[in-house]
Amino acid sequence: MKRKLLALSLLLSACMLWFTTPTMAAGSEEDKTSFIMHHVKDSHEWHFATFGHTHVTLPLPVIVYSGDRGLEFFMSTDFQNHDTHAFGKEYAHEGYFIDEHDHLGRVDEGSFLELSITKNVVMLFVVLAFLAWMALSAAGHYKKNGAVAPKGAAALIEPIVIFVRDEIAEKSIGPKYKKFVPYLLTLFLFIWFGNLLGLLPGAANLTGNIAVTFTLAILTFIITNVNGNKDYWKHVFATPGVPPAMLLIIVPVEIIGLFTKPFALMVRLFVAITAGHIVILGFIALAFIFESFAIGIVSTLMVTFINLIEILVATIQAYVFTLFSAMYIGSAVAEHAHDH
């Protein structure tokens, strides 16, 4: 198992170095680290590699909705220089442009809503498809064979299902856990697969994107508060065992607490995954900044090491997000008020 993990990390590191080498080959001092933030952030095109002047990219659709112009579809290639693949205000197309920081803007500065299929959206579809395929083929096993010992995808998914059901849902939520198991399962597997697939070379930093963690945290927030029972709301607005004068302070704090919980969820996953990607890419960048073989060897070893840790972090963060979601839901559906 250890050897397999090590081999996997080495492979990942080698691929990453291979992917970044051409990008680094011809660049100024600043370009040598700019690829880090470029990788970590979302983008309107999926840039894989650059060989000399040849850019290997996946052009992506740009979808814009505005009150006055309705729904419009473009391609990312409409907004860039065909040779350098650079975005800029000078390459405006039909009233829209993408600036050098990959921001979509409107020439006449009107309001609009962007619904583009960005790099992370494509990554999202990949993760969703992978998750759907795994879960459905696992479920197919049970449909075909009934309640027998698992095999294939079911053998991989079943321990996770049992773990999420028994260790996360039942222990944190209590007797009403059954209703929430499907959400927690989907959440855990989505984050886990997203984290792991995000570690692949060339992949996008999906679960380290704040929009993704924001959406997942909002879903937990909605599920928690929709299922909140009398005790839960009483605890917020008329905290038991607190003198009435103190309620003036306690109630606002409790109300803020409602929002800090999902906020913590959002920030924790975003920071953990993004930081991991930045550290790995930072070690890769070291080799190009110092332009030394010795540093290259050290940074490769470090990248391997960090990759191992990131595989661990990918699992831990999926577990933590799911566990805290379950605990928040559990506090909302608990039958008895907490004793203070």
């Binding site: 933030m37 970590v40 952030k41 979302d42 983008s43 309107h44 979808i63 920081h101 990959d102 921001h103 809503l113 962007e114 619904l115 583009s116 299929i117 960005t118 992370n120 959206v121 999202l124 579809f125 969703l128 998750l131 759907a132 879960a135 459905l136 696992a138 479920a139 049970y142 449909k143 009934g146 309640a147 027998v148 079911a154 998914i157 079943e158 299902v161 049992i162 059901r165 059954k178 198991v181 499907p182 959400y183 399962l185 989907t186 989505f190 994107n209 704040i210 929009a211 993704v212 924001f214 959406t215 997942l216 879903l219 993004t274």
Partner: protein, 164 residues
């Protein structure tokens, strides 16, 4: 695209994609899987329970068998004891009867012997009387002139008598 500003497009697609997947998986993956798991768990539990019941039944049967066996043994012993007793009694009875019969026979034999003895004595007496009579007759018939001859005759007769 900024690092800490959530992009509206990604939020939109994430929400649609995640919720869509959630509903598909609830219907087609998690529900059948969780049901199958529960079914399997309950079947394992039932199997364990029925094994426990079977084990208890086996123990009960064994205990019952042993009880039956003990009873049978006891009964056998009783029968044997009874048989032994009755056989002894029969032997005793037979012995008693035999003794009684033997005693009776002895008694009878004694009686017969007594009768025979009496008859024999009576006969001897008759014989003696007859012989006496015969001797007397012969003596009378012979001449009593010669004393010597007489004596000889008497001796002869007495000898004869003894022989008889």
């Amino acid at each position: 695209m900024d690092l800490i500003t959530p992009g509206t497009g990604l939020i939109f697609w994430q929400l649609i994609g995640f919720l869509g997947l959630l509903f598909i998986l609830i219907k087609f993956a998690w529900k059948p899987m969780l049901e199958a798991l529960e079914e399997r768990e309950s079947s394992i539990e039932n199997a364990l329970k029925s094994a426990e019941i079977a084990r208890n039944e086996m123990a009960n049967l064994k205990a019952e068998n042993e009880k039956l066996l003990a009873e049978a043994r006891k009964e056998r012993d009783e029968i044997l004891a009874k048989a032994h007793e009755s056989s002894t009694r029969m032997i005793e009875e037979a012995k008693d009867q035999a003794t009684k019969a033997g005693n009776e026979m002895i008694e009878k034999a004694k009686a017969v012997i007594e009768t025979e003895k009496k008859a024999a004595l009576a006969e001897v007496k008759t014989q003696v009387a007859t012989l006496t009579l015969e001797v007397s007759e012969k003596l009378l018939r012979k001449n009593l002139s010669d004393d010597k001859a007489q004596k000889e005759l008497v001796d002869e007769f007495v000898k004869d008598l003894k022989l008889n």
